[in-house]
């Protein structure tokens, strides 16, 4: 491979990672935009999502990399896997909000954030205790189709990941921009008090934000499995930190910003990892996070919600 081909290959990889991080970043941004809360449970809702996806695929008799599906069965299985995973993680998100965070809604200080750390830790250890510490083989039913793009290889799974992520993001954008609940969500992000007085059911809006964010995290977890062919109880931490960095980079609270940030972080990880060494990828991502926070805390596209004091 020439240097350029190598670069091209890393761009392809980076876009897939970016799709995953963007979906994850959206969950952070939706919740932060409304509650100004860093939701640490999101890290491991994503991880749990990948296990739910694994379980769903297993229900269709898929276990390793051997079973290949084509045509309608493939579409059906994938659709079912995404639907089940997203509904399940969405429900988990709603449950966390309803039973653990809503009682703390009006408590000042770090109580809510500490709660999300606790929830994250609980999810992490539940999976560790029930599934075990070794990583699990994640089935990939896609036919091993690959296209040559210059000297780089574009596999079918990459194309699928891009399509799914784009569709989900379009759907979310449509929801936020065009629907009544989406409008209520934007209003609540601007000023919850005023929104409440205008008849917006703030509780419902917050619950919707948690549902959508967690559902997207589930989709992201499934994509993780398809991309890496494995899943493990450990994957939440790194992916979550990248998703959060993506949200901050794009401007936390800003929906298009989260998507842009996700793609950038994915590309940086793939290309930076190639140039400097994958062992230091975390350091690069973290350095970006700190630099953005210090020099441009509003992110690339600015914040959706104004600073309330």
């Amino acid at each position: 491979m020439t240097t350029f081909d190598l670069f091209l290959q890393q761009v392809i990889n980076g876009l897939s990672l970016g799709a995953m991080y963007a979906l994850l970043a959206l969950g952070f941004t939706l919740v932060y935009g409304i509650l100004e809360l860093i939701n640490f449970s999101h890290f491991n809702v994503f991880m749990v999502g990948s296990f739910i996806a694994l379980w769903t695929l297993q229900q269709f008799g898929l276990s390793g990399q051997e079973t290949i599906l084509v045509g309608l069965p493939l579409a059906g299985v994938l659709l079912a896997a995404f639907a089940v995973t997203m509904l399940a993680t969405g429900a988990i998100g709603v449950g966390i909000e309803r039973f653990l965070l809503r009682p703390l809604r009006n408590v000042k200080g770090p109580a809510a954030m500490i709660t999300t750390i606790g929830v994250s830790y609980i999810l992490f250890n539940l999976i560790l205790l029930t599934v075990g510490a070794d990583s699990k083989n994640f089935p990939n039913p896609l036919p091993p189709l690959a296209f040559a793009v210059g000297g780089a290889v574009l596999r079918l799974r990459e194309v699928l990941i891009w399509i799914v992520a784009t569709l989900l993001m379009l759907a979310l954008t449509f929801f936020v921009q065009r629907t009544k609940l989406g409008k209520a969500m934007r209003a609540t992000a601007q000023d919850p008090e005023a929104a409440r007085m205008m008849g917006v059911e703030v509780d419902r809006v917050i619950m919707t934000a948690f549902f959508l964010g967690s559902a997207l995290a589930g989709a992201s977890g499934l994509i993780f499995g398809l991309y890496y062919n494995f899943t493990s109880y450990l994957i939440g931490f790194n992916a979550g930190l990248r998703g959060f960095t993506a949200a901050v980079l794009g401007g936390i609270g800003n929906v298009p910003g989260a998507m842009l940030g996700g793609v950038i972080i994915g590309l940086v990880e793939a290309i930076g990892g190639q140039l400097i060494g994958t062992a230091w990828a975390d350091v690069i991502i973290f350095a970006i996070l700190v630099l953005v926070l210090v020099f441009r805390p509003a992110g690339l596209l600015g914040r959706l919600a104004p600073d309330r004091s």
Partner: protein, 664 residues
């Protein structure tokens, strides 16, 4: 038993605490002597290490309210510092330049069959303070860029930092020996005697370290520094408006916490005589956070208890519980009970503790503050009823002799995005004057105050106080120069007492630093005593309204009393110009009259006053000059009676109908 309790009840609280402390000390001293089980003593020594970590994190999270999720990073820095400088990992070539260090016993010349090499032999006792300083340095390095941000961003940055340090330890193999870890770390020596591998000496060293850090924590907590930290935790904006340099004090908290962790790292590695990256990962940071949350954020004894409970839970209770369950499972033939392992699920239990504590007992096992009981009728009347203006506390202020202007604002313009909150406002407050600012809601009055005190930036214009430009200064610098304020929607430090609130007002006028606070030399004691006396004097100005409540937390006070505390806190800053933002809002007519008299007396006592007020009778009674704002611009200025008749003012306040009424 009842007799025993009665016997204890007869002892005063302070004495009881002393007795409790004595009993605890005796128990800790005697424990290894009577309990001859090395594993248990080792568990206690580990608990001591975690207690020191919890004490350090408590300064950051509990006192200053900064959520640090990567605290273990500083632990790792201290640990690797000691590990690298006492093991055989890093051995540069020997040259004569090392000889002076060898004489000090810091290095030795060794030969492993090649050229002569340098073997570092840093003393444990030297490493403790050195690692504390090094970790504090890293605390400043990582805190400086991030502590300016909102508190919740700090959490994520520290989380990343906490992840980076083990990665560096894993990848910088030449220094740290990577994932395999450092081996052969030297055991501490004391007067030539080697600690070795027995748990008992580490147990005692750990307990001494805990005692020392408890002492430092308490000294810091009960000082000017600790009060400032708690003020930041309670309300950052109010803290900076009361003269507290936010960045400096947050950095100090961060660095102090880091120093505790650095010293603990040395102790822990010396005890284990190895250091691997896994010892300092995210689970450790979380565990220390759980200890702090369980014990009670901000509670020194609480976090020590939290650390002890969790550590002993892990090493004593859970293994026992697991065995009991297995035995029970064997008895009843239940496979799950025979398999279950609680030690493995300890982290799950940590998560549950975090969530449960937040939902059901946020103040922890030993709350940092206990709500004071309501005052009895008699207690409410221990101080005399104070009506009319303030008496006493002469020289609370003094108008400058030459007259002149206290405050000169020229062409001040403040914009929030597209909204112009103030446009080209010019205003003068003569020294010794009382100027009132009135105007409809949203006319820019509070923005004016915020701009004067440095809370919002101005886009154009100038603000001069006593002839010096103050525009662009930080709020605490502006306060230091003699401008104090109250807030329209009361910004006290709700979980602190009336006395503490007023003491925080004096922050900028006191000098005690962190070292002084810990050593508490006579000079510091004298300063503190003077400060407390002055706070009591100021509180006494309000007679029985505040004096009996000096020890109560302000969140429990009535609305009017909270307003009074805000005035008292502002007076404590020794202002020359006092900005009062709707001081009588929400007060009944009698209370309004009382406060108006008090404001007038403050003026008589030598303060220049700028006030925002809606009640026109108060304005007429107090002000020499009234300035009227509308839509961010000044529409009238003059003596109260004149302004009252001004047509533009009437229109702004009452609309057209008002004009017709005025015409009639």
């Amino acid at each position: 038993m009842i007799r025993l309790r009665r016997c204890f009840a007869g002892i005063p609280a302070a004495r009881r605490r002393q007795l409790g402390l004595l009993a605890l000390t005796v128990f800790i001293l005697v424990f290894p002597l009577v309990h001859d089980n090395d594993a248990d003593i080792d568990s206690m020594a580990n608990a001591a290490a975690y207690a020191t970590l919890a004490l350090g994190l408590n300064i950051v999270v509990g006192f200053a309210g900064l959520l640090d999720l990567g605290y273990a990073a500083f632990f790792a820095i201290g640990a690797y510092f000691y590990g690298v400088f006492t093991s055989f990992q890093v051995m540069p070539l020997w040259s004569d330049g090392w000889a002076p260090l060898a004489m000090l016993g810091l290095v030795e010349k060794i030969n492993q069959g090649g050229p002569d090499l340098v073997h570092f032999t840093l003393s444990f006792w030297l490493a403790l303070p050195a690692a504390a300083l090094l970790a504090a340095g890293f605390g400043v390095l990582f805190g400086a860029p991030t502590l300016r941000l909102r508190g919740d961003y700090l959490a994520i940055v520290t989380l990343g930092f906490g992840e980076i340090v083990p990665i560096v330890a894993r990848n910088a193999e030449s220094v740290t020996n990577g994932a395999a870890g450092l081996n052969g770390v030297q055991a501490p020596r004391l007067f030539g005697w080697n600690f070795g591998v027995d748990a008992t000496p580490y147990y005692y060293a750990g307990m001494v370290l805990v005692a020392l850090l408890i002492f430092v924590s308490i000294r810091l907590r009960d000082s000017r520094i600790g009060r400032a930290w708690m003020a930041i935790r309670e309300d950052e904006v109010a803290a900076s408006a009361m003269g507290i340099d936010l960045v400096r004090l947050k950095l100090l908290a961060f660095a102090t916490g880091a120093a505790f962790a650095g010293a603990t790292g040395v102790f822990y590695v010396a005890k284990l005589q190895t250091a691997t990256p896994e010892m300092f990962g995210f689970p450790v940071s979380t565990m220390v956070l759980v200890m702090v949350v369980l014990g009670g954020m901000g509670s020194v004894w609480g976090v020590v208890l939290g650390a002890a409970v969790l550590q002993l839970l892990q090493s004593w209770f859970l293994p026992d519980l697991t065995e009991w369950c297995h035995a029970l499972g064997a008895l009843v033939g239940n496979a799950w009970l025979q398999r279950v392992d609680f030690v493995e699920s300890v982290e799950l239990i940590f998560g549950v503790i975090l969530v449960a504590m937040m939902l059901f007992r946020r103040e922890g096992l030993i709350p940092a503050t206990r709500p004071a009981p309501a005052l009895s009728f008699a207690a409410q009347h221990v101080a005399g009823v104070q009506r009319g203006g303030f008496v006493g506390l002469e020289r609370i202020g003094q108008w400058p002799k030459g007259g002149g202007n206290a405050l000169e604002i020229s062409g001040l313009t403040v914009r929030f995005g597209g909204l112009t909150a103030l446009s080209n406002v010019t205003l003068t407050v003569p020294a010794g004057g009382v100027v009132a600012v009135i105007g409809p809601n949203g006319s820019g009055k509070s923005t004016l105050f915020n701009a004067i005190t440095g809370l919002v930036p101005a886009q154009a214009g100038g603000i001069r106080f006593e002839g010096k430009d103050i525009l662009g200064l930080k709020p605490h610098d502006i306060l230091r120069r003699g401008v104090a304020r109250t807030f329209q929607n009361i910004r006290l430090f709700p979980n602190l007492t009336v006395l503490e609130n007023v003491l925080i007002g004096q922050h900028a006028r006191l000098a005690t630093g962190p070292v002084g606070a810990v050593l508490r030399l006579p000079r510091t004691r004298a300063e503190e005593a003077t400060a407390v006396q002055r706070a009591i004097d100021i509180i006494a100005l309000f007679g029985n309204r505040l004096a009996p409540r000096a020890g109560q937390t302000v969140s429990g006070l009535s609305y009017a009393n909270r307003r009074r505390v805000e005035v008292a806190r502002a007076l404590a800053t020794r202002p020359r110009l006092l900005l009062l933002d709707e001081p009588t809002a929400g007060m009944n007519p009698a209370e309004t009259l009382e406060l108006a008299e008090q404001i007038r007396s403050l003026h008589r006592l030598g303060l220049t006053i700028l006030l925002i007020e809606h009640k026109l009778d108060v304005v007429t009674r107090l002000a020499d000059t009234v300035v009227v704002l509308d839509h961010g611009g000044k529409i009238a200025e003059g003596p109260p009676d004149e302004v009252r008749r001004n047509e533009q003012v009437l229109r702004a306040y009452l609309g057209r109908a008002g004009r017709a009424a005025a015409d009639a």
